[in-house]
């Protein structure tokens, strides 16, 4: 699949200067997003998924900072843009849908007003045209009675409806990339499926790429083309969706898949990954997953692994490096 590259992230390093020290939330990751694909990013809480997304928009607020790397969107480095360029970039080239639709919408403005706003920032249109476009967008995301909903406030809508409003808002300027940060986590399971279906339909309809952040592998399996697994600020595995589920390479991916409870198998105990996520304030030697890894050897605890290619899958693990068989 030789597709055109839309976003290229190189050695992204995002850190937070906290009272207790320097926290490295995203530790030198590199990846690409192709035009029109759905890229899933999976990992547990605090692994740097959301920070990666916010970094793409250069939206990291102090005490956080993108300390290194490049983010190229159509060849332009997002991290080098000035304020004005950033304003016309955000919401226009890349738009984002956040996890919690209740708090992500401003409670004191109508949903119509909030969608109008993004249209009017990026386009020279009259308020009437903006309104027309907003109603059209609300219809596009399957909101019934869009004319009426236009004048309603977020608290008058249900959770699923609010997330649809967020999506409509993100789509307002036909972005090339839509980042969905756990778009379904706060929703009921039935509504989750509807929202995912909607995102998938819109992707095809509007020919945009999607970066879907989630901790839920089931969500990924339903819509992603490619998957990135993150652990402690690093990408530990990157593969096409089918490979991740049928042939996981990294021990962490394997463990994640094992911990999905199965209804068909009659298990006494649920599988869990032992141990804790490493404290990112401290310096670590060797592989960050080593303390929790069942395959870990001496080398894992002392030497940092480097990324290697197995088939079409990129994986960050000593197991797949040449010296594993003879490693201590």
């Amino acid at each position: 699949m030789a597709q055109e590259v839309l976003i290229q992230v190189k050695d992204l390093l995002t850190q937070f200067r906290l009272d207790d020290g320097l926290l490295t939330a995203v530790n030198g990751i590199s990846f690409e997003i192709h035009k029109g694909e759905t890229l899933g990013i999976v990992g547990e809480s605090g692994c740097g998924k959301s920070v990666t997304a916010l970094s793409l928009l250069n939206l990291i607020e102090p005490p956080g900072k993108v300390a290194g790397g490049e983010i190229l969107c159509d060849g332009v480095n997002v991290l080098k843009m000035n304020k004005r360029e950033l304003r016309s970039f955000r919401g226009n080239q890349i738009a984002m849908v956040f996890q919690e639709p209740m708090t992500s919408l401003n409670p004191v403005f109508t949903v119509g007003n909030q969608i109008d706003e993004v249209i009017r920032i990026h386009n020279r249109v009259s308020s009437h045209e903006a309104r027309e476009r907003t109603i059209e967008l609300l219809r596009l995301v399957n909101i019934p009675l869009p004319e009426q909903r236009y004048g309603e406030y977020p608290h008058q809508l249900s959770g699923g409806m609010r997330q649809r409003v967020m999506i409509a808002m993100a789509l307002a300027c036909n972005p090339k990339l839509l980042i969905c940060d756990e778009p379904t986590t706060a929703l009921d399971v039935t509504v989750q499926a509807q929202v995912l279906k909607l995102i998938n339909k819109l992707k095809r309809q509007m020919d945009m790429a999607i970066m879907l952040i989630t901790h839920d592998l089931a969500v990924i399996s339903s819509i992603a083309d490619r998957v990135i697994i993150m652990y402690a600020g690093q990408i530990v595995e990157e593969a096409i969706e089918r490979e991740i589920f049928t042939n996981p390479l990294h021990p962490y991916t394997e463990a994640l898949l094992k911990s999905i409870p199965s209804l068909s198998k009659n298990t006494e105990e649920l599988y869990m990954i032992k141990g804790m996520v490493p404290n990112l304030l401290q310096r670590h030697e060797g592989c960050l997953f080593a303390p929790r890894c069942e395959y870990a050897r001496e080398i894992c605890r002392s030497v940092e692994p480097s990324s290697c290619l197995v088939g079409n899958t990129k994986v960050l693990c000593h197991k797949y490096m040449d010296d594993w068989e003879v490693a201590p």
């Binding site: 016309s88 970039f89 738009a95 919408l105 401003n106 409670p107 004191v108 109508t110 706003e117 406030y153």
Partner: protein, 310 residues
């Protein structure tokens, strides 16, 4: 909505009635005899009795109260004991002065407080923030009378560009408004900073930025409207205390406003004025609270919907 306003007005009447009872009782149980104060100890017992009869002070207290109440409903509070001028006339003279002083000070305080508080919140943790908060603490802790006197000495006596006191000079309001405005402005700056910081950390701020909204618009539109409820509450409180008369400032600057009227009445035990000014304060309290509650609905749609049903 109308029902809500009417029920609030009904409550207001009850509050005012209670206020009349409390003031009436307090004035009458307080030691000292108004007639003796009024006649300044030069009169004999017969004279005192005659005046007391004239003023209706010989009647049982309960009758006195109902006399007072029936007249108060018609805005008749009798005459001042000390100079025989109708109380309403004194209020009519003092009220415009207080209104003018109060509204200007409030405007000053609101503009000052919102600007400075917002700046402080946006630049939190920086030198700007620390400097502003230090000044605010100074303004709040310095006694009003001291600060007023310092301004009088500097601008009135040394520079001779502003009047020290009185109301005859065209610029008489500048110093009193500065004292009141800075003081209330400093108090509000601290509160505004806190509520702005709270609003700034909300998710919808991040959403707005992700949409490409300019920083200044994020603050002025998205944050300020959300932070405005505590700000309104505070402005209401400030308006209330300014309109019931800035006692200290009016006294220091020799301004004939409601505060001075009330204090002078207490000093000379002028019962009619005391009762009238107390009732006026209670009335202000009730009305301003009602107005503030109604603006909540304008500012926050969530209150508008549930507020009507309450």
């Amino acid at each position: 909505m109308l029902k809500y306003i009417l029920s609030r007005l009904g409550q207001a009447v009850i509050v005012l009635l209670l206020a009349t009872i409390v003031t009436f009782v307090l004035v009458n149980v307080a030691p000292g005899d108004p007639v003796i104060t009024m006649l300044q100890k030069r009169a004999d017992q017969a004279q005192i009795d005659r005046v007391r009869r004239e003023l209706g002070l010989d009647k049982p207290l309960i009758n006195q109260y109902f006399d007072f109440l029936t007249k108060a409903i018609r805005f008749d509070f009798g005459n001042s004991y000390s100079n025989r001028i109708p109380v309403m006339q004194l209020i009519k003279q003092a009220f415009p002065v207080t209104i003018k002083l109060g509204l200007w000070s409030l405007l000053f305080a609101a503009i000052f407080g919102i600007t400075v508080g917002t700046l402080s919140a946006v630049f939190r943790g920086t030198l700007i923030d620390k400097f502003i908060m230090l000044l605010a603490i100074f303004q709040i802790s310095a006694p009003a009378f001291w600060f007023a006197m310092m301004l009088q000495i500097f601008f009135g006596l040394h520079l001779k560009i502003l009047p020290v006191s009185g109301m005859s000079h065209p610029l008489w309001m500048v110093l009193p408004v500065t004292v009141l405005g800075l003081r209330y402005g400093a108090m509000s700056a601290r509160l505004i900073r806190t509520s702005m910081l709270d609003a700034l950390s909300q998710d919808y701020v991040r959403t707005a930025k992700a949409k490409g909204v300019a920083d200044i618009l994020v603050v002025m539109k998205h944050v300020l409207k959300n932070a405005s409820i505590p700000i309104m509450t505070m402005l209401g409180g400030m308006l209330r205390s300014m309109l019931s008369g800035a006692v200290v400032v009016e006294r220091v600057f020799g301004i004939q406003g409601m505060g001075k009227l009330a204090i002078d009445a207490v000093m000379s035990r002028d019962i009619n004025i005391i009762q009238a000014t107390c009732l006026y304060s209670a009335f202000l309290f009730v009305i301003i609270n009602l107005i503030v509650d109604l603006t909540y609905g304008l500012l926050d749609p969530r209150i508008r919907i549930t507020g009507g049903a309450k």
